[in-house]
Symmetry: C2
Subunit: 434 residues, 2 copies
């Protein structure tokens, strides 16, 4: 990978020239949200670039890019398809590289640089996509196994369907927020007694006492399928726009009481946080890995030609207390999935369900095979509140306290050429009393 003429790129930056993730910004000069890419500590304003550069020179043969980059979401750009994403990202890599073939456009154009290359702290990040539907899967095998063992014992940890199909459920799209949006502790119906106690159950309405995180990888759909037609597993990569980190905040006590028989509801729908920059599918290509082996004889529609069908993104979770002490409570990798996103897409569309540009798929909580410091949820780390996680500052947690900040991070690659996601962060604020 060539190096960039853009100044001040830290070798440890998630946003090297090898990455160029897309996001939606508003700026001091333009309050209407529009497209940008991240490069080092800068946001390159694509609306400004498109308004001032010769697009037919930079992106020959692609129509409608100025309009796409002026939209308040990336949906239009996403729906232009993988070939366009590839061409645009490659052209931007050229534009930003030391040896650019278009030096006059930006590198040597101080006026445009001042307008188009903005320090990230000076721009406001918005939700990158308009999310039509959000589906959360359960493909983190070690998480599913650990949680199942906790509630049903190790012999019945996995349900009979788990190894045959990517189990998932429909989530709530309206409460997906971008990193740094405050998270309000939810109020909910909670059973304070043992849920297995005899009748009659007496719930209370109270702020959740078991507010948790879920460390996930999110996948945005670029182009969908016609209703009634499924997507073949080996063609599903063409449907993928890119990836974000996803923290699917969960109120475990609300969830325990409500989820039978139709699944999680208020325990999940109060908020999910995503990282603001969408790492394009092409940028993750060099970091393919083999997922967890599934020895089950799979149905034909789930059999993949590609063996390396997941990605080895190094994932970390930081908990920062109100006092400002930060502890990394989890280190794992996104390779610990037993189902790939192409398998999830093939399964999701098997019956004809249509996907649309901007739909979000969550991987499910990702945990490593090792100790508690590889677990992607406090539920697992603390065995549902039985054990404490020790923190810096002589503090400890079972579940989250008001004032806690959770930061997910993820990256691949070596220093100087990192492909990372930036922070996926949320701070907990106290519940609204009802």
């Amino acid at each position: 990978m060539a190096s960039s003429w853009v100044p001040d790129i830290d070798p440890a930056s998630d946003f090297s020239l090898a990455n160029l993730p897309f996001g939606i910004i508003s700026t001091p000069a333009d309050a209407a949200p529009h497209a940008a890419v991240a490069i080092g500590p800068w946001a390159l304003d694509l609306k400004v670039l498109a308004a001032n550069a010769d697009l037919s020179q930079l992106f020959p043969g692609i129509d409608g890019l100025f309009e796409a980059f002026s939209q308040p979401t990336l949906n239009t750009f996403a729906s232009m398809g993988r070939a366009v994403h590839r061409q645009v990202r490659t052209a931007l890599q050229d534009l930003l590289s030391e040896s650019t073939t278009h030096p006059a456009t930006l590198r040597d154009n101080a006026a445009l640089r001042a307008q188009a290359l903005l320090p990230q702290p000076a721009v406001k990040m918005h939700l990158p996509m308009s999310i039509g539907d959000y589906t959360d899967f359960y493909a983190g095998y070690h998480h599913a196994h650990a949680v199942g063992a906790m509630f049903r014992g190790p012999d019945h940890a996995l349900q009979p369907n788990y190894l045959h199909l990517p189990v998932g459920y429909h989530g709530r799209a309206s409460s997906i927020v971008v990193s740094d949006t405050p998270i309000r502790r939810p109020v909910g119906q909670i059973l304070l007694e043992d849920p297995k106690a005899a009748e009659p159950k007496k719930p209370v309405t109270a702020p959740s006492r078991k507010l948790d995180i879920e460390l996930e990888l999110g996948c945005f759909i670029a182009r969908g399928n016609e209703m009634g037609r499924g997507v073949a597993v080996d063609e599903a990569e063409e449907c993928i726009f890119g990836y974000v980190l996803l923290n699917d905040w969960s109120a475990r006590d609300v969830q325990t009481w409500e989820y039978v028989p139709l699944g999680p509801f208020n325990g999940k729908n109060f908020a999910s946080t995503i990282s603001p920059w969408v790492v394009l599918a092409d940028a993750l290509e060099p970091f393919r890995a083999t997922g967890i082996e599934n020895k089950t004889e799979l149905q034909g529609y789930l059999r993949e030609e590609k063996e390396e069908s997941v990605f080895d993104v190094r994932l970390e979770v930081d908990l920062t207390t109100a006092e400002g002490d930060t502890t990394t409570i989890c280190r794992t990798s996104s390779k610990h999935l037993i189902w790939s996103f192409p398998q999830m897409i093939a399964h999701h569309t098997l019956g004809g369900c249509p996907m649309r540009a901007g739909d979000l798929l969550g991987s499910g909580t990702i945990s490593g095979p090792g100790g508690v410091d590889e677990r992607g949820s406090l539920l697992e780390m603390t065995e549902n509140g039985k054990k404490e996680v020790l923190l810096a500052g002589m503090d400890a947690r079972t579940f989250l306290k008001d004032g806690d900040t959770i930061t997910l991070r993820g990256f691949c690659g070596e220093e100087g050429a990192r492909v990372g996601f930036g922070a996926c962060r949320g701070r907990i604020y106290s519940a609204v009393q009802r």
Copy 2:
């Protein structure tokens, strides 16, 4: 209710002057979908009306109506709030009544009448709302009880949470279609053996053999709530735009295998059909009824001041075979709910989940307390395929056959002043082989 000058209104029409439901049409003269109201066998084109009438006379004090009526969905109009819906509907009732105070606008204006009043068969109906999120509840007590008894026995028919909170789950918004959209039988993973049989389970991938209907009432949200703030149950009516009939097609065999532990997924997400005309909340006001009594001591946020918190809509389900024989297989009422829509909204937003204009809430399957001819699903009518429903034409069904057409109908009120929904119809086409 005054009578209308509009010709050819059958006294049995769902679309009397007392109704005036809103929908989205395209016409021979204007292919761009836009707003209309139904009156008898006609669609009154609101975009044409708004372009040719003096809006400040007809709807004094309301801005932006031409823009709202020119949109491809009713979301903008819905988000203007209940007071605007009321004023607009009342003004349209005046405009269409024999004794209209604006006779020159439409009644005595043959040229505008010819342009604006179109026979319904000449217009194409579209999905009336852009649906951000779809949530399906389970408030049909008799359905929940019958299905629970079938799978867990009568003593454990209802889960412990059922009488404490409106159980619901997030559905799939992308596969909601308007009446008369063809329904493709879904392919799915199915366990042909008894799901309680010993390991190892061996699923197959095949067209669903247990394709079913669910008779529901759907509720569209007009204005939502800010994230983090709940809606009080006695203020929830203000969030409601109107109602449609909803057939939440279900593949029972797919659902049985997939739904543990996260709820229904591919068994439901292949299609849901709604009726095209949204009956405004005000139009249903005269038909309030008391729902099913819940003797449980409710949490405060679910206690309603209003006793008559549901509606007595007479509901019917017709099954028409490929040969053209029609049998009414169900007659019931939408009053058979144990939770009202305001209670569903209060619960859904309890933890702060934001609702948005255009969100759809389903009541859950509605069944009456009586015999099999009051049941809102074939699952109940046939005891999961054990008994046949006899049809006209010497035919019978356990579940749906390819070529079957299901039509939901619903109406309130007396002849000449009926408030009805029109047809919610879908025909089953054979599965795409994979």
